[in-house]
């Protein structure tokens, strides 16, 4: 007896062309259908085409990026440290902790200065947001958020409100009140809604608009009064971790950095990405504009800080040292842009000479990683917040 397997043919109407044919089982997006052989072949070639399209798109994108790099390189005729050779070297810097703010019960994640140059708002992992007069080290307000890991906080330009958010995926605005009878949480306004954690927030030129960045890969501009979304910014391929508004005359752009190693400059009006830079080797934790608005610095997990020029459209300096192994979590410029302060995950703060590219000073003091760092509005000091539950003001 011979061993023969018979293929059982199912006859019926094809799920695609509805003609009466011999059918074959076919899987489309994990759903089982029955196609006739002709339709099955067509589907196979379509799938092939789709993959080809994706692959060809990817290669087209890569080649264009390569061309872009070539164009950028053409106008690069000199390095920053070469130009800076004739600049006088900075003297020795003695910067000390002038104030230590203790009061948070857990890791300090974010802080921001008030325009009055002495008050700050800080947020921590246990959900507490505290407003301090850091000159006297007095606490003035405290709010407990309903979520933990409040990763973003900002002071309103008028000094009358603060914004904060984190794992609750929202950005809420709290008007500051000294009325003992009023509970600050009662007047809270929920402004932004994202689909993942809030990583950064900032008021624009007034108390009435907030710009947010989120782990859902987008940035968004909101109207505080109504909570309306005014503009959203899509383009990052992963979580957006930081943002900074440009100090320009026409005040229309901001820069954001994310886990996709890209720093992107956006037009707030149109929502379009105007410029993008992708030279970091790891997540970008912090971006900050140079005071003139023509450049910005970024700090990343790859242990480097980099300076990108917007007019030259390229990276123009890298601030790194072999002995610096841990990622930079936050960066800020001094008032003149000559110094770059960067807080690192190895508990230190490094001070860089922006023009010469060398490290001017290293500051010890924190007992856990430095998570946030901002220079005061008049440049007299800078404040650093750390996972060791404290904030320090240095000058």
């Amino acid at each position: 007896m011979c061993d023969q397997t018979f293929l059982a043919n199912v006859f019926g109407s094809c799920d695609k062309c509805f003609k009466q044919r011999a059918l074959r089982p076919v899987f489309k997006k994990s759903q089982q259908l029955s196609y006739c052989s002709t339709c099955a072949e067509i589907m196979a070639t379509e799938a092939l085409h789709e993959n080809e399209t994706l692959a060809s798109l990817k290669s087209e994108a890569e080649s264009l990026k390569g061309k872009l790099e070539e164009e950028r390189a053409k106008l690069h005729d000199v390095e920053l440290h070469q130009v800076a050779e004739r600049v006088e070297a900075l003297g020795q810097f003695v910067m000390k902790t002038r104030r230590t703010l203790k009061g948070h019960g857990n890791k300090v994640l974010c802080m921001d200065w008030c325009k009055d140059k002495r008050r700050i708002v800080s947020s921590s992992q246990d959900g507490k947001v505290i407003v301090w007069d850091s000159f006297t080290t007095n606490k003035e307000h405290a709010v407990t958020m309903p979520c933990t890991w409040v990763m973003a906080c900002a002071y309103a330009p008028s000094g009358c409100a603060i914004a904060c958010g984190g794992l609750d995926n929202k950005c809420s605005v709290y008007p500051l009140t000294f009325d003992k009878n009023e509970n600050m949480a009662a007047k809270k306004k929920s402004v932004a809604m994202h689909t993942n954690y809030l990583s950064a927030c900032s008021f624009t030129n007034s108390d009435m608009q907030i710009l947010t960045a989120s782990g859902d890969g987008t940035c968004a501009l909101w109207d505080v009064e109504s909570g309306q979304l005014l503009q959203s910014f899509h383009g990052h391929g992963a979580d957006v971790l930081c943002l900074d508004l440009a100090p320009s005359e026409t005040g229309n752009t901001f820069v954001s950095g994310g886990c996709d190693k890209k720093a992107m400059v956006w037009d707030m009006r149109s929502g379009q990405c105007v410029q993008a830079f992708e030279t970091h080797e790891s997540d970008i934790n912090s971006v900050r504009y140079y005071p003139s608005g023509d450049a910005f610095a970024s700090g990343s997990d790859d242990a480097t800080c980099r300076l990108y020029d917007l007019r030259a459209d390229r990276e123009v300096a890298i601030y790194s040292k072999e002995s610096i192994i841990f990622g930079a979590s936050s960066v800020d410029f001094s008032l003149s842009g000559r110094l770059l302060f960067a807080g690192y995950n190895d508990y230190t703060i490094n001070v860089w000479d922006v023009l010469k590219g060398s490290r001017v000073s290293i500051l010890f003091g924190h007992e856990n990683r430095v998570s946030t760092l901002r220079v005061s509005p008049d440049g007299t000091a800078f404040c650093s917040g750390s996972w060791d539950h404290t904030l320090r003001v240095w000058a």
Partner: protein, 467 residues
């Protein structure tokens, strides 16, 4: 509070690049020629080979990276904290002592990045071994963990005990020196991965970073992501760029110009409030002060933006424009700013107010915009949105910047202000440096009454001279 959510399995090196770098440092420290001097260390009756002293580690780091001793000690401490180097004598505390204290390099098997994340089962076996070997050597928190694990993986407890006994039996067959070393290595690994309460966990990460890997993969696979990139590249290829030399020179001149105005670079007079505890500097430079300092008046000459951002400067400029009968330009610009940054609900009202006051034919403060811009603006006013006045605003801004501003700087008014402005005297050093000046508090901006109605000629954000 307990540590954040457990890190995702796989690719720890990619997510924590500092681990790879630390490993490279540690490997080069063990280089037979260029590395740290190795010696044999006598511990009680055993001799442990390949030990190094804390002092040698610090010295090697100082020389290799050309850093100060303080920094080298810090770097060394960080390496020990992450378990890449462990102390032989006092294995409980992962601290680097820069003296004759002996240390050893952790075996790559136990590196943070290799065996990660630490498995509960392994921890249970480790604690069980400790418990069996010498009853009662488990420290408090270890006892708690042991009990908790016992409840949690009760079903596998026989396996745990069996494994523990097996490992202890196998260990007995090794030389005493090896046994000691392996015990230290294991202990270090667990100190890093399960730190005692109160000690910072070096492996803790911010929440959400774990999702990076997943979302990154997800987002890049979509076709429209690439299409967006292609479109961006095409646009970018067409943009004009400036030569690097020009851009970089601009930094030099900016930093040079602003250097004397930067308190952290050049100090500030009378004194830096944070250093001297005296807030005189802030009082003298308050937003609306009658007599601005010389540096402040100088800054108004740096750029038009600097002048406008300073309330005192802006007020003087407004006076100047008033003399030239072009004050409506600045008022118009301020009204446009208010529109752009104002509440969404206010947009139609504000647009209308601006139109009535500045743009309507025969308006009280009519601004002179070129006809094309005026046409476009009036056209757009039919469907007002917050950016509708951008063109007109930019036109007026440029007019002021290119025309009125340079005249202001050359004017007698400005020259007079510059001459009048004083340079504060440096605060005399305190006789008794250890006595602290009382630090004055200042009223919170949240206490100041907010203005009732935002006028078109108001300052930024509708406030007036906010402290």
């Amino acid at each position: 509070m307990a540590a954040g959510p457990a890190p995702p399995p796989g690719r720890p090196r990619a997510q924590m690049p500092h681990l790879r770098k630390m490993e490279r440092v540690v490997v080069s420290m063990q280089d037979p020629d260029q590395g740290v001097k190795m010696r044999s260390q006598r511990l009680l009756v055993t001799v442990i080979p390949h030990a190094v002293t804390g002092g040698d580690v610090v010295q090697w780091l100082t020389q290799k990276f050309c850093i100060s001793e303080e920094e080298a000690r810090h770097l060394g401490a960080v390496l020990v904290q992450h378990g890449y180097i462990y102390p032989l004598r006092d294995p409980r505390s992962l601290v680097l002592r820069p003296d004759e204290t002996p240390y050893r390099f952790q075996t790559p098997y136990f590196w943070t990045s290799t065996l990660w994340p630490a498995a509960e089962l392994d921890y249970a076996i480790y604690l069980a071994k400790k418990n069996i070997r010498k009853q009662g050597t488990l420290v408090d928190y270890e006892k708690e963990c042991y009990d908790r694990l016992h409840t949690k993986i009760n079903h596998a407890w026989d396996l745990v005990l069996m494994q523990a006994r097996e490992q202890l039996r196998a260990a007995k067959q090794r030389r005493k020196g090896d046994r000691l070393v392996i015990a230290c290595q294991e202990q270090t690994y667990w100190l890093v991965n399960r730190p005692p309460p109160g000690a910072p966990s070096v492996l803790e990460q911010s929440p959400g970073r774990g999702s990076c890997a997943a979302s990154r993969v997800h987002m890049t696979k979509r076709a429209d992501f690439y299409k967006q990139e292609i479109e961006y590249c095409r646009r970018a290829l067409g943009r004009t760029r400036v030569k690097s030399s020009v851009c970089l020179e601009a930094y030099l001149s900016f930093c040079g110009q602003r250097g004397p105005h930067d308190p952290l670079v050049s100090g500030c007079l009378p004194s830096n409030p944070w250093i001297s505890d005296d807030d005189a500097y802030w009082v003298m430079n308050a937003p609306t002060v009658v007599a601005p300092t010389k540096l402040r008046v100088e800054r108004w000459g740096f750029s038009f933006r600097e002048l406008l951002e300073d309330p005192v400067g802006r007020a003087h400029f407004m006076d100047f424009l008033g003399k030239e009968f072009s004050g409506e330009n600045l008022s118009f610009w301020e009204a446009c700013e208010e529109l752009r940054y104002g509440a969404q609900a206010q947009v139609p009202t504000l647009v209308d107010a601006v139109y009535q006051q500045f743009l309507a034919p025969g308006a009280a403060r009519w601004v002179n915009i070129d006809s094309r811009t005026m046409e476009r603006t009036l056209e757009g006013l039919r469907q007002p949105h917050r950016y509708i006045l951008d063109d007109a605003q930019l036109h007026i801004y440029m007019l002021m910047k290119k025309d009125s501003y340079p005249r202001f700087l050359k004017s007698d008014m400005y020259k007079g202000l510059l001459a009048e402005a004083g340079i504060p005297l440096e605060t005399k050093k305190r006789v008794f440096p250890f006595s602290r000046r009382p630090r004055h508090s200042s009223p919170s901006p949240a206490l100041l009454p907010t203005p009732v109605e935002p006028t078109a000629a108001g300052g930024p954000g509708g406030g007036d001279g906010v402290a």
